[in-house]
């Protein structure tokens, strides 16, 4: 069992005990997206040379009034433990675990533009057909994909982005 899995299990246990797994998961995933879009924030939270209080203060300032106390406490715990670098991986593990505990599988979907509700519904249904069970989508807007969609469902990556087609063209060149 990896460190990330251990932390994810612990976070899931805390969120379950607090009785609001879904909200905690959404807030944590939103924070993970913010981390992915902000390298400076990621490196600051991963910087072991910074005092733990300073890092905690940054987390509090960022999430104050925007996330629950449970979410803030969880992020503070991981950052204080010196696992700031693994935070997004831990959050993704937790999200997968949370979805699994509710009988669903979690699919990470990246697009250049937001999906419409209708597209989300169709995509979830299509992925459910592939997975053989209900699938929950975790969407992320990523302009680097240029166009199209890339979906990660467990170990399976279904890449239908313009970027991947351009990469293939580049390899052909």
């Amino acid at each position: 069992m990896s460190i990330s899995t251990s932390y994810a299990e612990a976070i899931h246990a805390v969120a379950s005990a607090e009785g609001d797994v879904a909200r905690t998961r959404n807030e944590l995933l939103a924070f993970a997206q913010a981390l992915q879009q902000n390298d400076q924030l990621r490196s600051t939270l991963a910087n072991a040379l910074l005092p733990a209080d300073t890092r905690n203060q940054i987390v509090d300032d960022l999430l104050s009034g925007k996330a629950s106390d449970v979410t803030r406490a969880i992020i503070g715990l991981v950052v204080n433990a010196g696992r700031g670098r693994d935070l997004d991986e831990i959050i993704n593990e937790f999200a997968v675990r949370a979805a699994t505990s509710s009988g669903k599988r979690l699919a990470f979907v990246r697009t250049a533009v937001p999906l419409t509700p209708e597209q989300e519904k169709r995509l979830a249904a299509a992925l459910a057909q592939q997975a053989g069970g209900p699938v929950e989508l975790q969407t992320e807007i990523d302009p680097s994909v240029v166009g199209g969609v890339v979906t990660t469902l467990g170990d399976n990556v279904i890449d239908g982005t313009i970027r991947s087609r351009i990469n293939k063209m580049r390899e052909a060149l």
Binding site: V146, G148, V149
Partner: protein, 180 residues
């Protein structure tokens, strides 16, 4: 000197002892002792003399042999003296041949090394050319990719983006329904 003899003159007025029988017995004893000595020690003395004679003869023979050998060596040395120049010529000739062979070998080795260096240089040039072409190709493809991405991104409006997503979902739906 004769005084002691005359002084020893016996009572009979002569030089002999007074009792002539002493002369007889003394003489007899003398001859007996001489006979015994000749009889017993004679052969050993003769044998010793013969041994000494043999040893001297042997040493003499050895000396003669050494002399003969020395004369033979001297004769050979004297006879060999004229061959020194021939040997010298032979050595000089061999040296000349060796020098020639070495010169040929060195020249051949130098030619081979020059060929090898030339081959290596050619290979290096080819590799560098290949690497330069690969780098150029990589650079061109990278630029092409960036340009293409920028061009496509500029061309993609909201409808196109939505169309791409719909197309992706449709392909998933088709795959899912075929998999059933």
């Amino acid at each position: 000197m004769l005084l002691p003899i005359f002084a020893a003159e016996g009572p009979n007025g002569g030089q002999l002892p007074a009792d002539i029988n002493e002369v007889y017995w003394g003489s007899l004893a003398f001859f007996v002792i001489v006979g015994i000595l000749v009889w017993k020690a004679g052969p050993a003395v003769v044998k010793a003399m013969e041994g000494r004679t043999d040893r001297i003869q042997r040493e003499f023979d050895e000396a003669m042999l050494a002399r003969t050998e020395a004369e033979a060596v001297l004769a050979a040395t004297s006879d060999g003296a004229p061959d020194v120049s021939a040997e010298s010529n032979r050595i000089a000739e061999e040296a000349a041949q060796t020098a020639t062979r070495l010169r040929v070998d060195t020249a051949a080795r130098a030619r081979a090394e020059a060929e090898a260096m030339k081959e290596r240089a050619t290979l290096d040039i080819q590799n560098q050319t290949r690497q330069a072409l690969a780098d150029l190709r990589e650079e061109i493809s990278s630029l092409t990719k960036s340009a293409t991405e920028a061009l496509v991104a500029a061309q993609l409006d909201a409808n196109s983006q939505s169309g791409l997503i719909d197309s992706y979902i449709s392909s998933l739906e088709t795959t899912g329904s075929q998999g059933r």
